[in-house]
Symmetry: C2
Subunit: 360 residues, 2 copies
Amino acid sequence: MIENGGAAEPRRRVLLTDVAKSAKVSDSTASRALADDQRISLATRRKVKAAAAELHYVPNAAARSLRVRRTKTLGLLLPDLRDPVHGQVASAFEQEARQRGYCVIIVAGEKDLARERVALRIFAEHRTDGVAIVSCVISPKDARERVDPDRLIFVQPDHRSLFRSDGPRVAGVIQTDDAGGARAAVDHLVDNGYRRIAYVGGGARASNAVRAEAVAKALRDRGIRTAPISYANSAEGWRTPGDLAAVIAADLPEALVCYDDKLALALMDALRALGVRVPDDVGIVGFDGIPFAGISNPRLTTVNVPSAEMGSAAASSLIRAVQLGTVPETVLMPLDLVVRESTRTLPRPAAPTKERTARA
Amino acid sequence: MIENGGAAEPRRRVLLTDVAKSAKVSDSTASRALADDQRISLATRRKVKAAAAELHYVPNAAARSLRVRRTKTLGLLLPDLRDPVHGQVASAFEQEARQRGYCVIIVAGEKDLARERVALRIFAEHRTDGVAIVSCVISPKDARERVDPDRLIFVQPDHRSLFRSDGPRVAGVIQTDDAGGARAAVDHLVDNGYRRIAYVGGGARASNAVRAEAVAKALRDRGIRTAPISYANSAEGWRTPGDLAAVIAADLPEALVCYDDKLALALMDALRALGVRVPDDVGIVGFDGIPFAGISNPRLTTVNVPSAEMGSAAASSLIRAVQLGTVPETVLMPLDLVVRESTRTLPRPAAPTKERTARA
DNA sequence: ACGGTCTGCGCAATCGGTTGCGTTGTACAC
DNA sequence: GTGTACAACGCAACCGATTGCGCAGACCGT
């Protein structure tokens, strides 16, 4: 029977000791019994478990992790939970972690270095067994100094610029093959007759530079030698999609490759306001493969990024590393193009035309 | 100077004791100094802090919370991090919490009772100072038995069906005024000449029933006495938006009020595939006000739900309750309609027409 | 010189589990 | 009868902080 004490006092939490007492065994035996330690007889184990259930015993994670020096907790640092891509990553990460018995502390860093450092500090205080950093601005070096590098993994669903000049290994990295994705996008466009192709950037962020470069290279590789147009934001401040659309509409290319789907969709909206039709007047391809790209009007052709896979891969890789005492692995995620309605086949000879490919 | 010990052994964590030793004070003084206890002289405080910084001391949250019986941690249970609405709520919740010095453990319950119970168990083990439950299937009663009711708040950005037959107070609740929202939507439609108005449901979920009822009542209140059409999903299984669109197109109403924006947008896409134009052939209004509703084609008229405000309200209310030892308050969030392009003014006398409003 | 009041700091208990090691009890062999 | 092996369990230390209480020394007044 449960002793209630009569009064409605703030019911004292039931401790392992209470369970032990109720089962008439020592604390240590109770602890082992609940952990299914083979040294404890089956009968005793059952007795203890029954008592625990009866008393509604809930172990104290803090006390346990203090002793065992493991928290079964992971830290997840990302820029923003509202973003579809990060939401996808976070969702998959959390699921995978939970299935493996870990729970996760999520902190949004908002692409702000100070906040990101605070986040890592929080993880350190909580002694998380591992940390995943998704698309953040903090440098790997900086991050390594704040949390155990062996317990650290970077996830870059949108770029991997941080990892070029930083030596062979910084920790685990789950990165995307932006070059491959850009190639697929460009191939699709060129094969369908598009020639005047522009890249529309997402600002001054490093992630943008990577995709811009990837697209530029893919264009060069296909012999598109017309100076690639690139609409970057002004160094200061941000252009609204409306402003950007106006600039673009003033000298309309045949196709636009956008930094990401969010930009592509916003741009489609803004262009529509200007009377520019997609894909009739201009083709558009995005990056990321967010859910809404599949039901927009027109549906968006996009380079799909396996955000969910990246999230779960990060979690499982991290956990494996923690348990084995190794360093999280590094994996490169392939990107595939999903062709929809925002691009079409241009009514023009698909074979490379002499006048455009110059001396090809 | 930092003693490194030479070898690359798994650098022992630095403890408060180390800081104390380095500052030549006792542990207790070190602890108090770091907490800026007035009893410790300023000079000593500075000395200790310097030592802590020098040694890169990071306090152990588990040890601390074990002692102080407070974890400065909140639990957040929601169905899915991928959902725009929940993402918004989670984002705001996390921000607010972090600003107040709390960190948050997020668990996705996926509208699955078992998983939700596991989540609450996790929160209980971690002794979270408070728990917020967003749009979940677990009953308030059930939840109250698993976590301290005084530390519990429900957030219902999409419905509040759980709270009708459950007594006056179940814990804190942040709920939405769906009735008001539905009224605004219906008023807008009716004022613009729409008469044959249907509600398109989101399945058998309780949340759907609430909005369906709210819309039905709003229609009745405006004297729209034609039997309100309502496209519910079949009891078993789910209809695809395509199926749903086909059914709707077969006998097209003048306007559709959808359970949420996601459904509205999917429906617009499916209807377009069937050659039905929005808003020319049918008006559409959604619920939630997700970001993408603002840039869809056509832009979606929708009942805006202040998800972010709800998230931060939940966090601050919860924290306040925890600190004051009171019960989290209950608030009702007003919903406002944002009119965009998916509805228009019908070329029909706006005044109620005799033949439709029957004996009005 | 001596009692009283502060100021600044340290001792040791405490939070709630886990675990190395030792102890008890029984069975079995010799 | 005694030694040995093994199964089942208990004692007490430990994890790393926080904090109630007490104590030493400085300072002051008389």
